[in-house]
Symmetry: C2
Subunit: 409 residues, 2 copies
């Protein structure tokens, strides 16, 4: 199998090479290493010598997390199509695919473009793509990749259809179902109509249905993520049965998040799960019981820059590092981050470049000391960062570019 890749940056002319997809990620990785960029000077440093703030990836934990979810999906005969919004890096997507993932999930077309250019050619944009310019970009992408796009309106179907037909491309579409989050997606009883519109639309091929609701939404009847995952699966499989009885060829039933996937994979008829956060986990998944502190693979390294009081330290990482898009109280957490021992210091207040840390009795770090923290919501911390430093045996093994950082169009 051969594949087309176009390197086109501001600095280089475009060049076109024909390579099998599996070579492309390797080519990308070696190209970056040849550039003499930051990771060359930082490789081999001990954690104490890393400038801060920095995001550290514990490689052993990352590998274990990737394997855990790969095994869970494989053992239940369900495809794992991980959402890359958590890491946004080519290197981690590559590891997920090597561990058995069947394609990737993204939220936005511009993310799909990054991963497709790197040779990952089976991509689900689990988001309602709207707008003629975006539809045209989707059609272009569909000519080089197996591209699946979410639809939940007649407008979306029509725009994608026109662009695909005009480009001579096939865009696979999945109808989004609102299973309780009340965000995007149609009510189950509206699904048949939309499926028929997609089936009739030139350039589109109906691929199935999908939903997202996570483990915390108004109206949840359980606080157990596994129970919620089962319910989500049963709801979607029941709808699939009704649609098939009405003559609609639903192939894929795609559901599940990091907390709910373990329940979702148990429901016969579910064909795919799309967890994202599991590669790193964070304080939220740990608070919800889906992970333990010992499994969290991403931490924030910060320096103590001030000691305003015996029980307070100020670190050089604030909301430009931790983000803080989630209101802690709403997800059952206190503060915006915690030291990686789970107890010594709590980030209780933040400004953009300041984290005010409440220290546990007996813990008294000095100005200049470096501390590691787990963030509440790892996805948005990563989106604020240009690179992730990969740590093995206490020193930097590699630096990975957050290639799809900020891609939101």
């Amino acid at each position: 199998m051969k594949s087309l890749v176009v390197w086109h940056t501001r600095e280089r002319c475009a060049c076109i090479v024909m390579l099998p997809p599996s070579w492309l990620l390797c080519a990308y990785e070696s190209r970056r290493k040849q550039e003499g960029s930051l990771e060359m000077s930082i490789t081999g440093r001990s954690i104490a010598d890393i400038d801060t703030p920095a995001l550290l990836v514990n490689e052993e934990r990352l590998e274990a997390n990737i394997q855990r979810y790969a095994n869970m999906a494989a053992q239940n005969g369900v495809r794992l199509r991980p959402h890359i919004k958590t890491h946004k890096t080519l290197e981690i997507a590559s590891r997920q695919l090597r561990a058995g993932a069947g394609g990737i999930t993204v939220a936005k077309l511009s993310e799909a473009e990054v991963f497709s250019a790197a040779g990952i050619r089976d991509i689900f944009v689990a988001y309602p793509v709207i707008g003629r310019e975006k539809a045209e970009r989707a059609a272009r992408l569909a000519r080089e990749s197996h591209l699946i796009v979410g639809v939940e309106s007649a407008v979306g179907i029509q725009q994608l259809s026109e662009a695909a037909a005009s480009a001579g491309a096939t865009i696979f579409v999945r109808v989004e179902i609102d299973s309780g989050l009340k965000r995007t997606g149609v009510a189950p009883e509206k699904a048949e109509e939309l499926c028929r519109q997609a089936m009739a639309a030139p350039g589109l091929e109906l691929d199935g249905i999908f939903t997202f609701r996570g483990a915390s939404f108004a109206g949840a009847t359980s606080s157990d993520p596994q129970v919620l995952g089962r319910q989500e699966g049963e709801l979607m499989v029941a709808l699939t049965t009704r649609l098939r009885e009405a003559g609609i060829p639903i192939k894929e039933v795609s559901i599940g998040s990091t907390p709910t996937s373990s329940g979702a994979v148990l429901v016969p008829g579910v064909t795919e799960v799309r967890p994202g956060t599991y590669v790193f986990f964070d304080r939220m998944t740990t608070g919800a019981g889906t992970s333990t502190y010992a499994e969290i693979a991403l931490s924030i390294l910060a320096t103590v820059v001030s000691r305003p009081a015996p029980d307070l330290a100020v670190i050089d990482a604030g909301s430009k590092t931790f983000c803080g898009d989630v209101i802690p109280e709403k997800v059952g957490l206190e503060g915006y981050g915690i030291t990686t021992d789970g107890k010594s210091g709590l980030v209780e207040r933040m400004n953009e470049e300041h984290g005010i840390v409440r220290l546990a009795p007996g813990f008294s770090p000095q100005i200049g000391d470096k501390l590691t923290f787990f963030p509440n919501h790892v996805c948005t911390s990563v989106n604020l960062s240009d690179e992730l430093l990969v740590i093995r045996d206490g020193s930097v093994k590699d630096a990975w570019s957050v290639a799809a950082r900020g891609r939101r169009q």
Copy 2:
């Protein structure tokens, strides 16, 4: 006056040219235009044709805001040293300097490096710089720029002194005073000791004192920002008098934020104010009475991607665009953003790529419609963005790179 600039990116070898500083920003701007990059294709587009989400800058309002604060400072004989954390772009810093600003303020050294490389050579890092690697970077920067750095600990003074002395550089330092925010800075009664340490330290030159507290902090005795600005000024000038009486040569008394600067400039003895947000303003400054909706110069353009209910719209901009680092209730706001008419739609819920907008009665945008919103906190919205689109007369005039986005080390 000649100046040294080093272009050093991953893609290019370093080259060194000798140019007067005023040429450097022009050179930067024309260099970017020659690159055939995104802004070439987007220039001239009407707002309706801009892909979303996008950050739009109203150029007329931007110019008026820059002029308003420049006038306020000039009329009171106080230096305006704007904080660039709000915009992070070379083009806006250049406009601020042309309007009379005396240097710029940044939070982190890596921001200073970006602006120094572009020819802005009078920079105050209003943050306690801690760590040997950072001290060495500060010393390098001080050899090419007039660099002022915040200090508030003996450790910070010692590290900067060693690095500066070793590099043969002079780093100007200002002692940070905690005037009530309880974040960084020493209590006023501790200032003399730290000033004496700075005076005695080789490679350092004591330049003055500074503080930041903004208009909302525990213990504020007024809700009027102008009153708070006066109080902040009086507190710092009284301390300056005591320090001078003790033989400490305080030159600069630097205070003030966007809401409090109007009061701060009125206090005799205050030499400098450091507002940042005023270039754009946002919902927070408007809620606090410092600006009006008609003055907010930055808006977020988003597309309606779903209409889940008659009174709800979902837009393609969520916390990866609006940020949401500020809890709305804590700053007296409702929701995370509002339509730019101030009333038709309120972003009441967000996920990373979804904004759930509550629509006012009678407002019923269709899927595909583009809407503009004011964010709560513009600084963090900008930090999530790679570029700002400059709008004049309803179409895109230019695209400015957020050159110091993500610079937090």
